[in-house]
């Protein structure tokens, strides 16, 4: 594997390989000294053109636990002028001898553009509304471990609730969940769905109550307040009434149902309950697992065979 830009280009075999590898990384993370020399002398650059806390820290932690050298290039919310110099930025940093770029950008497709300008590997850490493949990996890994489904998701029913249209998480998760065999239902009004779902392996309902008591995984997406200005829903109050996880609805979940969220949460909007009071919540595990799957990704891209053995010196 040269790049990780989308779930699509990973394929189902790549997905399974990385999930298996994540088990190994999780084992390393449980050690008293969670560090191995696997990527010593490799340099990983985080290029974050859009603010992010958890994803950036998760990648940096992953790289450090594999003993890679890390650099961070943080740009605030990108301006047009910053966009104009994207290629120069990449070529300048690449000239320092870089093995991988971890890229977050508010514009869809930037990882593809960058991969045309550098020999280094490119990892998509979220591009616009398009994809967030390591989020999909950590979500799959979380479901796999929490429901003990190492062989796949056949027979599982997963609902993704909320603003699918503007969600890179949904655009990665749908394909990853489906590739592993799950049935995926999108729960949203048409204003928050992509303009076409042709070819998407999903079904759609328009009210959370239609699926609340029958799904195995309830995946809640963040409802961004700025969407109110675009007439996509009349009000947050109405959104919560139809699509929010309220205490009443939490009571109707099956015992084993997992509740997931990519963060950051909007308390009182899509999450109208305290997730710490939800027995099925695995939101914290998602964050923990993020480090393991990102270690797996970096190792798969940059590592070589036996380097995982042994402890860091």
């Amino acid at each position: 594997m040269k790049h990780l830009r989308s779930v699509d280009e990973l394929g189902v075999d790549g997905l399974r390989r990385l999930l298996d590898l994540s088990d190994h990384m999780a084992e390393i993370n449980r050690r008293s000294v969670p560090k191995v020399p696997a990527l010593r002398n490799k340099t990983v650059v985080s290029l974050f053109f859009e603010d992010s806390t958890r994803t950036r820290l998760s990648f940096e932690t992953a790289a450090k636990r594999l003993s890679a050298d890390t650099m961070t290039f943080s740009v605030g919310t990108s301006s047009v002028n910053k966009g104009e110099s994207l290629r120069d930025t990449i070529e300048t940093v690449a000239a320092m001898g870089i093995d991988a770029f971890v890229v977050r950008h508010k514009s869809s497709g930037v990882p593809w553009q960058i991969s045309r300008w550098t020999e280094a590997s490119v990892v998509n850490a979220g591009d616009g509304w398009h994809e967030h493949p390591t989020q999909a990996l950590l979500d799959c890994y979380t479901i796999r471990t929490a429901l003990n489904r190492p062989d796949g998701f056949d027979g599982l029913h997963i609902a993704i609730v909320g603003d699918i249209k503007h969600s890179r998480v949904a655009r990665s998760d749908v394909w990853a969940f489906a590739a592993l065999g799950a049935r995926v239902t999108l729960v949203a009004p048409h204003t928050l769905l992509p303009p076409s779902l042709q070819g998407w392996p999903v079904d759609v309902v328009h009210h959370i109550d239609d699926i609340i008591d029958r799904v195995d995984v309830l995946y809640m997406l963040r409802m961004q307040r700025e969407r109110m200005h675009e007439a996509l829903v009349p009000s947050l109050r109405e959104y919560t009434a139809r699509f929010g996880l309220t205490p009443d609805r939490a009571d109707r979940l099956q015992q084993h149902t997992l509740v997931m969220h990519p963060g950051p949460m909007n308390r009182g909007v899509e999450m109208a309950v305290d997730p710490s009071e939800l027995p099925g919540s695995v939101i914290t595990q998602q964050v923990t697992n993020g480090v393991s799957v990102r270690m797996a990704v970096l190792f798969d891209l940059l590592g070589s065979g036996s380097a995982l053995a042994g402890e860091a010196s």
């Binding site: 990108s78 047009v80 966009g83 104009e84 994207l86 290629r87 950008h105 514009s107 869809s108 497709g109 930037v110 593809w112 553009q113 591009d127 616009g128 509304w129 398009h130 994809e131 890179r168 655009r171 992509p194 303009p195 076409s196 779902l197 042709q198 070819g199 998407w200």
Partner: protein, 431 residues
């Protein structure tokens, strides 16, 4: 061989004359800027070899962005004229979205003067419909019309206000000029990056729905009916738009339309790699639209092939897809794509490139005329069978944003004669 020193007559020899009357193996003699004789085995002071080639009236492009004034790093009137001449065009309509735009006599006259100084083709400045193309106040249409402007458009944007468009049509009707609409209801295309459909949904970018074009096509057909003023539709891109124009023509309304080569050769799937080289406005659409545009060109619904030649500096086309400006080069590939992709006979292709757009531009007395004695010597000589590979470095345009680099195409302009001068000889510009 410099044209300026070229005295006497030139015979275009050994080719097949292709014009409104059909095809015939004939030589054409040109002298003093006009055709002086058409016949077999002509002699002259100079000879232009046309063996294996078609000799046709010069091409006319209704839709060219020359970027000067304001964006000279992307194109100038001279470099754009050179690209036009190499594409076989003897007249081009310069779109008004320069900085400043074509909303004053000074800018319009400057564009025409710089075109004349370049001397590679006739540059016909369009005029803005509204001041600053802002859609609020009418531009001085009568003053610009008196200075020779024939086509008025706010291209790059559509006139959103239906009342203002109605007034522009009514006012323009009394001036004998033509309004050309860029059909886009902008409230439906806020932030749009590409065609709204399956690809856009998967790629996670904002979509440009077909209906945003079709609503304005429909509105302006009805406003043309109401006012009795003619309307020209720029760069039609959707199947429904073609149907609407077909219906309006069947009713005898005064509508004409053009289509750009990229809308009959490329689809939205080209954007799967997120390369802004394929970003254009209106956007590349679906295969059904491509087929409908081709059919519209074949059955006469669409009157002209117009390139929407839109040069942009490389660094702008390397911006993220949602920030990069829309537009692609067109002048130097239009003939080849038309021959290669439309499946029409050559006379129909040349009609769409030459005399039909010449009539819309109001220059049919100078361009696109049948090759008869006395006609102005605006002539294109092209080899319809020559296969060549498009390269961005091989363009005369100052910019490199062709979406066709690496593509093998058939048909190439060999010579272009503008105003009696050989401005392109063996595919090379002569000035």
């Amino acid at each position: 061989m410099s044209n300026e020193s070229r005295q006497g007559s030139t015979v275009i020899k050994g080719g097949t004359v292709l014009d409104q009357r059909g095809e015939q193996r004939l030589d054409v003699r040109v002298e003093g800027g006009v055709i002086t004789e058409v016949g077999a085995l002509l002699r002259g002071d100079h000879t232009l070899d046309a063996s294996g080639c078609m000799v046709s009236p010069g091409f006319v492009d209704l839709h060219v962005h020359l970027r000067e004034p304001g964006r000279e790093e992307a194109e100038t009137i001279e470099t754009g004229s050179r690209a036009a001449a190499r594409g076989g065009f003897t007249a081009i309509v310069a779109m008004p979205n320069t900085e400043p735009p074509h909303d004053s006599l000074a800018v319009v006259q400057m564009v025409r003067r710089l075109g004349a100084e370049a001397g590679l083709c006739e540059v016909l400045p369009s005029g803005c419909i509204t001041m600053g193309r802002a859609g609020e106040v009418l531009a001085p249409m009568a003053e610009l019309a008196a200075a020779g402007v024939q086509i008025f458009t706010d291209d790059g944007a559509g006139v959103q206000d239906p009342l203002l468009m109605r007034r522009a049509l009514e006012y323009g009707k009394s001036l004998g000029i033509l309004l050309a609409q860029h059909c886009e209801v902008s409230r439906l295309t806020m932030g749009a990056v590409m065609h709204e459909g399956g690809c856009c949904a998967r790629l996670g970018v904002a979509g440009w729905p077909s209906v945003a074009e079709e609503l304005m096509v429909f509105r302006d057909i009805e406003l043309s009916r109401l006012t009795g003023a003619p309307v020209h539709f720029l760069h039609l891109s959707t199947a429904k738009s073609v149907d609407l124009v077909r219906g309006a023509k069947a009713e005898g309304l005064l509508v004409t339309a053009e289509a750009a080569p990229h809308h009959f050769t490329l689809t939205d799937e080209m954007l799967n790699g997120f390369d802004p080289i394929f970003k254009v406005n209106p956007p590349l659409r679906e295969l059904t639209d491509v087929i409908a545009v081709k059919r519209g060109l074949a059955d006469g619904t669409i009157d002209a092939i117009a390139t929407d030649h839109a040069p942009h500096a490389s660094e702008l086309k390397e911006m993220p897809l949602d920030q990069a400006p829309p537009g692609m080069l067109g002048l130097e590939t239009s003939l080849a794509l038309s021959i290669s992709e439309l499946g029409l006979d050559l006379q129909q292709v040349v009609a769409l490139l030459s005399w039909q757009p010449a009539a819309i531009a109001g220059v049919a007395h100078r361009h696109g005329r049948a090759l008869e004695v006395g006609a102005p010597a605006n002539i294109t000589v092209f080899d319809p069978d020559l296969t060549w590979t498009v390269t961005s470095a091989g363009m005369a345009s100052k910019s490199r944003n062709t979406p066709y680099a690496g593509r093998s195409v058939r048909g190439k302009v060999r010579h272009t004669v503008f105003d009696g001068n050989v401005v392109v000889l063996d595919s090379e510009a002569q000035r």
